[in-house]
Every structure is written in C-alpha cells, then in structure tokens.
C-alpha cells in the first residue's frame, strides 16, 4: 500500500463528480432556454445563495440560527444605500454588501460561540429583531416601512443594463452563486472545512486535538454572514429596492425551510432546496394562491418524519416497511 494510494483516497471527496458538472451545465442552460422565466431564475439564485450561506452556519458548523435574515437584510440595505449615495456600480455595491454582512457576523459571533442551541436560536433571532426595529425606526435613512426608494443601479461592467425582464439580473445572480459555490466547495474540503464537520461530530474530541472550537465557530459564522450579505445585496440590486422585508423573521424561516428541504451539511442542499422551495411556491400558488403554505407545511412534516433518503427512493417504501 503506497503513500500515493492513500493520498488519492483522501483527495477523492474533493474531486468534481460527473453529475455535479452536468447539474451546473443544466443550471447554466436555463436562462438561455427559458428567458421568459428570468425573474424566477434570479429569485432562485438569490435564495440558493442565501441557503448556501445558512448551510455553512447550520449544516457545517452546526449553529442553529433563526435570524440569518439579519445579514441578508443588512447586505441589502448596504448595497442599496451605497448605490443611492455613493456610486451605482453593482460590483462595488456587491462587495460593500458582503463586507457589511461579514462585519456584522464578526461582531455578533462572540454571542453565539458559547451556550446551548436554544441560546443560539434566541440570540440569532433577537439580533435580527433588533436590526429590523432599528431599520424601522431610522426611516430617514432606510425609508422605514415604505422601503428605500429611488435606488438606481448602474449597468453591470458598464455594459449590461438591468432590464425589466430581469435577464441581466438572472445572469448576474447565477454568476455570483456559481463563483461562491466554487470557492465554498474548495473550503469545505480543506482541512478547515473538514474540521468543521469534525466539530459537528464531536466537539470534545476536536478540542482534545488542540483545535479551538470557538475560533472555528466564529470563522464559519462570519463566512456565512458574508455570503448572506452578498445574497441580500443581489436582491437589492436586481430589484432596485431594499425594505424591512429583507430583515423579517419570515425570511430567516423560509431560508431554513429551503435548506432543510434540500438537505443541510452539503453544498448542493442549499441549491436543491432553493429550487424545490421556489418551484413548489410557484406551482402550488398557481392553483391555490392563499393556501400554499398548507402544502409546504404538509410536505415538511412528511419529509421530516419519513426522512429524505427514504422519501426520494420509492423502492424502499415497501421493502423495509414490513421488516422493521
């Protein structure tokens, strides 16, 4: 058994699978194939990016958060205010939104590295509520309940105007999602990324190996916050609007729903969940606009009770049913 052999086996999980390449190819085909749905594609890409950011926090670092919208909404306001008062360039605005998300993550991370899951759940929710009320109160800056109006975003790269059909928006958001996915895919297979998985498995052992738990939680939380800020910035830029809705509790809950549907703890979970969530929303509300949450709630209950693997492999429905 040679060293090269073991190295190849250790590196195997970080290699791109054929189905991953195929899926990304399929995703890239959609804005060309169905340009009439560009707005939906844009929404899905943004939700997917937001869900992936929660996946880093919840799926990889195991930090339960019901206030992830704090970073999303802050990124959205930051990008919108930057465009309105400083400069309209979308890429610079995107960086601003990301940095604001990251800074907010760094400053709030000391509150989530200690305590229990319930502590984290309440602290994250509390931070989002505080920010929501601050945005509501300082309406001279944020526009309060009316939202921030009159945000004009310049053309992307100085060439592509954001059109009403959202074609530019869909390519913009998909590109950002794709690039973030590439980077995060590297990160989760790096020693740091694997140590996050180890942290979720057994904290006691990780610190017994000499690694700082709190340091790792803080870094993962900040990384998730930065990506959430980017997602918020994308929404503000592609809609030309930022509002209290970006900080609202339902946004934290929706993204958690999307991630849980797709599966936390692997990067594709955020993407799959965002697609499933938005498409379900679209399809169900087409025939029952008022009661779509009934169906999504029912689906969630079944998913949780039956389990994802079993639900999506019908062959197992009857096989194990009698035996166990």
């Amino acid at each position: 058994m040679s060293g090269g052999d073991l190295q190849a086996r250790l590196l195997a999980p970080s290699r791109w699978r054929k189905w991953e390449i195929a899926l990304w190819a399929a995703i890239w085909v959609t804005p060309f194939a169905v340009p009439q749905h560009a707005a939906l594609i844009n929404e899905i890409a943004i939700l997917a990016l937001f869900a992936v950011s929660l996946d880093i926090v919840l799926g990889y670092a195991g930090i339960v958060s019901l206030g992830h919208a704090a970073f999303f909404g802050s990124g959205a306001y930051a990008a919108a205010l930057f465009a309105k008062h400083v400069m309209p360039d979308p890429l610079v605005g995107l960086v601003v939104g990301t940095v604001v998300g990251a800074l907010l993550g760094v400053t709030t991370s000391p509150m989530i590295v200690r305590g229990t899951d319930l502590t984290r759940l309440m602290v994250t929710m509390g931070v989002a509520l505080v920010l929501l009320e601050l945005a509501n109160k300082f309406d001279n800056v944020t526009g309060g309940a009316d939202g921030l109006q009159g945000v004009v975003i310049g053309p992307l790269l100085g060439m592509f105007e954001f059109d009403l059909g959202a074609r530019t928006a869909s390519f913009y958001s998909l590109t950002v999602l794709f690039l973030v996915f590439l980077v995060l895919r590297r990160v989760v297979h790096s020693p740091f990324g694997v140590s996050l998985q180890a942290l979720r498995d057994n904290r006691l052992r990780l610190s017994s190996l000499g690694m700082s738990i709190q340091g790792r939680l803080a870094v993962a939380y900040t990384l998730g916050a930065a990506v959430a800020g980017a997602a918020g910035a994308l929404l503000a830029q592609t809609t030309g609007f930022a509002s209290l809705d970006g900080l609202d509790f339902h946004r934290s809950a929706d993204v958690m729903l999307a991630l849980v549907i797709g599966g936390a703890g692997w990067l594709w979970g955020g993407l799959a969940g965002a697609i499933a969530f938005k498409v379900m929303h679209d399809v169900i509300s087409a025939f029952t606009p008022q009661y779509w949450t009934f169906w999504i709630g029912l689906f969630l209950v079944i998913l949780m009770l039956v389990g994802r693997e079993k639900l999506f492999s019908p062959r197992t429905w009857f096989k194990n049913g009698g035996a166990k």
Binding site: L11, R186, P191, G193, N202, S207, S208, G210, M211
Partner: protein, 262 residues
C-alpha cells in the same frame, strides 16, 4: 531520568458537598509509565479532566514542564503536549480514520487552518498518516466511516488520534475498556510500543495491564492519594489490598454496607 514533566500541587475539586479530588500532589517524570488505580468512584477521571482542562480545580495548581497551566484552555494544553484519550470513545463518527488522523497530524503541523488546498494534498502529512494507520493496525479500515468500524478498531483509533499529536504526556483513560478478548492484544501491543520518551499516565481497572505496563503506580481512594510506589511495593501493600478487598466486598454485600454507613 528523574525530571518531572507533569506536576499537580494540592489539587482539590469539590462538587457541592462532595470532594472528588482531595489534596492530590502528583509528579509524573519524563518517560514515565505511571498507572493511576483505585476503586470505582476514586476520582481518577475527575483528576484527568482537571489535568486536561475540561474541569477547573476548586484549588491547587497544575504545572507542565515547569509552566503553570491551571488556567489554560484545553486546546492550548494540547498544543503544549498534554494529550489524552477517553474512557468512552470520542471520535468523528462521519469521518474515516484516514481523514481523522490527517486532521490530527495537520493540526500538529499547524496546517489545520488551511482553507484552500484539500485535506490530503500535503504528501508529508499523508505519509505520516499512512505510518500511523500501520502502527495502529487500521490500514484495512482506513476508508470506512468511523461509526461503522468494529469496536476494537475504534478503540485503536482513539489512541492513534492522541499519538498523532506526538504528545509529551499521554493520558490513557482505560484504553482496554470494553474491548473484546480477541482484539485486546492489539491494544496492549500498541500501548507497549509507545515511544520511550513519552510520559504515559494509564488509568485502568485491568490489573494485568497495569502490572505489565507500569513502572510506578499511584493508588487513589475517595479522591485522595492513598499510596504510591513500584508495582512490587503496591502488590505487597496491605493498605491497597484492604481497599480493593473492601470494595469488592462492598460490591457483593452492597445492602449491608449501605446500612452500616446510613
């Protein structure tokens, strides 16, 4: 040979009204094979937890190579070379032994914070992991997820993870606990083959293992040090025999001893 690596000074730990560690002053010398024995509830694991920083002592100091580490965070003590294994396996259930060991070796080489190159891209680290897998007889199980390994192999991984950190002081908390007879020899062999310059503190109930392995034995009873000596001295001690006999009698005549104490 007599230089002290790990030293506790008047260590006391109280949980409410219970004193779990009572004025323990213990010196572990370089390269020691030191066993810590005592009946159930003697406070052996509580003592280990204070040494590693999981529990804070109520009073007293702990020194590692002359440096006071009493207030140091657990992971920082590990960086100084104080490493432990656990009585109950503490493993990464969804990682493979190869991944777990690569993580441990990476951390020792200060490469665990790397976030761009994938785990396993450093050939030097991989070569060391390969060696550990052979040393701990895990090479045929290297790529199975840890939770699917047989218990004996998980026990070996538990020790291998600690050894991967190249400790100066290694605390082994009942390494052979619960291991089936067929796999026991693997544990005994790997423990016996630990590098001579590593100071090993062994907590064990298995007297065969204690007396074949240790060159020095400390007996703890009710959180306090009863006596310390060479295996021959301990084996000949009436005090020790009384404690072990007493506790085994207490085990069989539990009800009556309870009545006496009540």
């Amino acid at each position: 040979m007599t230089d002290v690596v790990l030293q506790t000074r008047s260590l006391v730990k109280r949980f409410g009204g219970i004193t779990a560690t009572q004025d323990v002053t213990l010196a572990i010398t370089r390269g020691a094979r030191h066993a810590l024995i005592g009946p159930n509830g003697a406070g052996k694991t509580t003592l280990i937890n204070q040494l590693t920083g999981v529990l804070d002592p109520t009073s007293g100091r702990i020194e590692l190579e002359g440096r006071d580490i009493t207030d140091l965070a657990p992971h920082k003590r590990v960086a100084l070379g104080l490493v432990r294994t656990f009585q109950i396996n503490q493993l990464f259930s969804t990682l493979t032994p190869a991944q777990s060991l690569t993580l441990a070796v990476s951390n020792r080489r200060e490469a665990a914070g790397r976030w761009w190159l994938p785990l396993g891209s450093d050939a030097g680290i991989v070569a060391e992991v390969e060696q550990l897998l052979v040393q701990f007889r895990l090479q045929d199980h290297a790529d199975r997820v840890t939770r699917e390994l047989p218990y004996g192999k998980r026990r070996l991984l538990e020790i291998a993870l600690a050894v991967a950190l190249k400790p100066r002081v290694l605390l082994l908390d009942e390494p052979a606990a619960g291991v089936p007879a067929a796999e026991r020899q693997d544990i005994l062999d790997t423990v016996a083959a630990l590098p001579a310059d590593v100071s090993v503190v062994l907590i064990e109930h298995d007297m065969d293992l204690v007396f074949t392995f240790a060159t020095r034995i400390t007996v703890l009873v009710n959180g306090a040090m009863l006596t310390e000596g060479t295996p021959a001295e301990i084996a000949a001690s009436d005090e020790v025999r009384a404690v072990y006999l007493g506790s085994s009698l207490a085990g069989t005549r539990h009800a009556s001893t309870e009545a006496e104490h009540g």
